[in-house]
Symmetry: D2
Subunit: 277 residues, 4 copies
């Protein structure tokens, strides 16, 4: 397994160096849970860029437990993501909910996200693998590490090894927090496999005031990066409002993570980054 995934910058990016996920420099992927509008996404992307972060996250197709809640903007969401990412020289990660969305998603994104509910939807794993694009495979919220690695094996079996694993919290008997961030699994994967490991503290704790300490814990345990939800105005977010951090707090968030990074002999790649604006 290649332990570092290299992703070239978009042609129109102001950045010349490729992104290297799993390298000593941590990878942050920040953005809204769902793309709601051009203005909302651009506001977050501006903060992402200002904070020296290179990957913009955002959902265009949203897997929602109930059919009666906001399901995402679809193609329009992808167009918004790409437009603002290009404006700020960012890479895009977004989720493909089903096989039928892969052609679109692979046109607009730089990294394909496989969501937690779909970790064992094998047709999607196979089809995503066959795009040849980098894939972030989220752990099922009640999947064992062995099942997670077997799901990665499904992707590899179709010829794609550019896989990063995303620990996003597992379900427990307690609802004091939304899920439980499995820092032991992060440490185990870094000790026993070559996959880069990204942590999603937002879904793990489900409360904006706990996202930063959970993010710090993930980096301290050895994670190679974070994917975190930010919103220009969290109370108005159309999904996951309670766990989004205000985009205004992004700089402080990134700075705090940077301090932990240094304490585990890693760093945030700010120095390499020439802000676009």
């Amino acid at each position: 397994m290649p332990s570092i995934i290299q992703i070239d910058s978009a042609p129109n990016s102001v950045l010349s160096n490729p992104l290297r996920i799993g390298d000593n420099a941590l990878t942050l992927m920040l953005g809204p849970c769902a793309v709601e509008s051009y203005e909302q996404t651009r506001a977050v992307a501006a903060a992402v860029s200002r904070a020296g972060v290179r990957v913009l996250r955002g959902g265009a197709f949203k897997p929602r437990t109930s059919p009666h809640t906001f399901q995402g903007l679809g193609l329009e969401g992808l167009e918004i993501l790409r437009a603002v990412a290009d404006e700020f020289g960012l890479l895009v990660i977004t989720e493909a909910l089903g096989v039928e969305q892969l052609p679109l998603v692979s046109d607009y994104a730089d990294i394909i996200q496989i969501g937690s509910r779909n970790m064992q939807h094998y047709p999607l794993l196979w089809a995503a693998a066959e795009t040849g694009m980098p894939i972030m495979l989220k752990r099922g919220f009640m999947s064992t590490v062995a099942e997670w690695l077997a799901a990665a094996d499904h992707i590899i079996s179709r010829g794609n090894e550019r896989i990063m694993l995303c620990e996003r919290g597992i379900r427990s008997f307690d609802n004091a927090t939304r899920n439980v961030l499995d820092v032991g699994a992060i440490a185990l994967l870094k000790t026993t496999t070559g996959f880069p490991v990204i942590a999603d503290p937002s879904h793990a704790v489900g409360r904006s005031d706990l996202v930063l300490p959970a993010a710090k814990a993930a980096i301290a345990a050895g994670a190679d990066g974070l994917i975190v939800e930010f919103h220009p105005d969290p109370p108005t977010a159309l999904s996951d409002a309670e766990q989004a951090i205000s985009a205004d707090e992004m700089d402080r968030f990134v700075a705090e993570i940077g301090r932990i990074a240094v304490a585990v002999d890693r760093h945030l790649p700010h120095a390499n980054y020439a802000p676009a604006h």
Copy 2:
């Protein structure tokens, strides 16, 4: 919600009365985990028919944790299922693993099964709903009852109310048995919703010697039917060998279930059935 799902017999069936799932008469769906060959499937179907059971189960597309194990016969499996079912006047239930398989599956089967790993794969729920066929929605092994009902709501939102729910055991902290059959959830659903509820004792316990007591418990708790794995020669089964019951034991299995049925004021519909052979 209609509390009974009526399914007409196949035109070539020797049976004239439609199957009514959720009625006082229990519905049994018996057959192999995976369709492995014509001979294997025909042997089980003969036992199914002999036992007075009307629905043949069998997997043509198998969701397997590892990509290196048997993934099912695909189209050939569907053809075998339909052929032997028609020979014995049986209805067919089989799983559609992905949206792309629905046209095939709806051509060959009478009931579409949505598997546990796919309970929250919404594109599949939507597409299955749109076939208009009866759907058996298995509970995710890590899904709450509320999420399960929300998944059913996704199907209903696309205009299909012919839904039966299948409790197949949930994951716990203990591996003494494969999963834990949630008999309380069966009772809760029968008390608070109108959905027919089928239980899958095979996956719940994962050991052939415990399948019958678990099946009895499910019926005692109020389940409307069972889906159970049988094999002509369990030790040679290509999947789930340890939980399959020998086809030779099917008559006794059905008879034992029939005794519990009577103790809860229900019955097995043997009397209505004129065996084809």
Copy 3:
């Protein structure tokens, strides 16, 4: 392991035959969650006796999650239990919360209950064992079957083999019901060990309307008996009000269980019983 535990009737009992737990005849243990008063306990005991049941359950020392709720009547509760049990010729099961209560509990009760929270409180297991009395060991709500059997082994290691195991529901990720009754564990224990197994459907489901179906499921799965909460006026119960069944419904409850018993080749020992009043 002796597979049947024999308990002699109290000297003042109208019954001459000993109780045999684990025998073909099922053992029911019915009564209030907590002993609240003489009147309340006598009302339930009268119903217990009328229903042909031989064991009265009731808590004198209550393990309560919060220190600010009713903790039981203590010694007064034991005196009430014994008095009404003797009046109606019943045996008594009650919980010893700590080592220091064992002398009292063993004076007043016929069976010592070890509660779920104490399954791994080894000093209590050892001291209870040394009384020589029959012990009902409840499964920890978070304990594996292997740990449960190891706890029983702690009792055996002090020379007492008169142990019955009580499955009372395990904790899951879902709070649709209070706990999940592990019917597979009941079947597993009956298949692989000689211990009598009692089920507690009240704590398993935590809702009075689901207690009867859960109780039926337990018997169908092979349990040797039940321990169930009844109250003369459930809404006024000082603990577990939502899961208690009205004492008025006891006769019907017992009759329904009797039907399932027959369907699994067992019975309720009504015929042996000459009601005291």
Copy 4:
């Protein structure tokens, strides 16, 4: 709730300043799982002292799942702990397994540990409270945060507020690691209560190679200290051999924790410490 617990040094200690748990300076409690011999305990205590750590942990009474494994040295273990702690000017934390051991334990120890299996053994909580000594209350391995705080409330209800909470990993559906360290709960407790929070990474992960990353994660999430198992020769340990770290690695362990401490504006109190030898 006092947010800092102050503990005076033993009279014979070379230290003049009291220990303050919950203060900006982190509290480490290091030592063997079980006291096995004077030599073993002294070797670890020497390392503890050399590393600038002030609290020696060690079990004299061991709660063991099976009655057939090493149950601890009992009184002899307490005597060894106290002797070596006094030699090196250390404080002692050790577990009281039952009420009957509290007089002994409170004579020999400075902090009473309530173990995970006993979090809801209320008689022990009450009796421990009444000693007036500082108490470390371990979370039940399948207890909710609400139940844990209710257990602390049982202690407070008997007049003792010198309570620290210890997160030691909760049980999940996955056995890839022994338990799951709930870093979100640590952050939640630090955000919403005044209790000092100690983390036990050894029991959380159960593998010596993962203890350090888990410990770092706990400190990054906001824990006020750690309790960690060390052994002079881990493979020969009589209990928990697989999760003990070699005493030789203690200095490096402490140094690594110190780096994370600084990254979250805390520190290890080395500077205040004059080594005894």
